[in-house]
């Protein structure tokens, strides 16, 4: 069966520091991968998606970037964090080539920028 791992679970970082969140998927090949951010009282906002190694699309302009160095690895980064980057970050995957199917989420990372 497929599993998705996301770490760390919680992170407190000072303003201006770098960020690296990692996500890996097991049990499937060539997945579509996603990074979402969830703010309190708001729906999930798609930040980035990837359909293959090195292929990253950004949904909203922001202080963050994403990379996919391996087929089942997705990384969310920032060179200098802002207070507004605080939030709950979720990685997700779905089956490639089946655009109408569901996405499966990791357990999330609570990021607090202080």
């Amino acid at each position: 069966s497929q599993t998705i791992h996301q770490w760390p679970a919680t992170l407190v970082q000072p303003v201006g520091s770098p960020l690296s969140l990692e996500c890996t998927v097991e049990g499937t090949s060539n997945p579509n991968l996603y990074w979402y951010r969830q703010a309190a009282g708001r729906g999930l906002q798609l930040l980035f998606y990837s359909v293959g190694i090195g292929q990253i699309s950004s949904e909203v302009p922001q202080n963050l970037s994403a990379s996919r160095p391996q087929d089942r690895q997705f990384i969310l980064s920032s060179k200098k964090l802002l207070l507004s980057d605080s939030g709950f970050y979720l990685c997700a995957w779905s089956l490639r080539g089946q655009p109408n199917t569901e996405a499966f989420f990791g357990q999330g990372t609570r990021l607090t920028v202080v």
């Binding site: 996301q6 729906g43 999930l44 109408n100 989420f105």
Partner: protein, 111 residues
């Protein structure tokens, strides 16, 4: 622009008191409506996918139904462990066909 609206924002039930959550959507050419359950501090857990009006899916005390403009998540005789936020999402019909989420319904079931 595709929209997903969930109601109510919050719902408090007594154990055993059945009710329904609503998800209305505006998307042309529905490519799937998805229900998720999210516990505090956790990622959303997939529950159901519905594709066409009239379709129904069931899992334990939960039943999801779909019409041309909305979906309902019926909760029959809920238990305290059903307390969670329930999220609804649809696939956009353009571009990458990304999932568009509603803001969810927070359900609290009291013993």
């Amino acid at each position: 622009e595709d929209q997903v609206t969930q109601s109510p924002e919050a719902l408090r039930l007594q154990e055993g008191e059945s009710s329904s959550l609503n998800c209305s959507y505006t998307v042309s050419g529905l490519r799937g409506l998805f229900w998720y359950r999210q516990d505090p501090g956790k990622g959303p857990e997939f529950l159901f996918t519905l594709y066409s009006a009239g379709e129904e899916k069931e899992k334990e005390r939960l039943k999801a139904t779909l019409t041309k403009k909305e979906s309902f998540l019926h909760i029959t005789a809920p238990k305290p462990e059903d307390s969670a936020t329930y999220l609804c999402a649809v696939r956009e019909n353009t571009g990458f066909q990304k999932l568009v989420f509603g803001t969810g319904t927070r359900l609290l079931v009291s013993p």
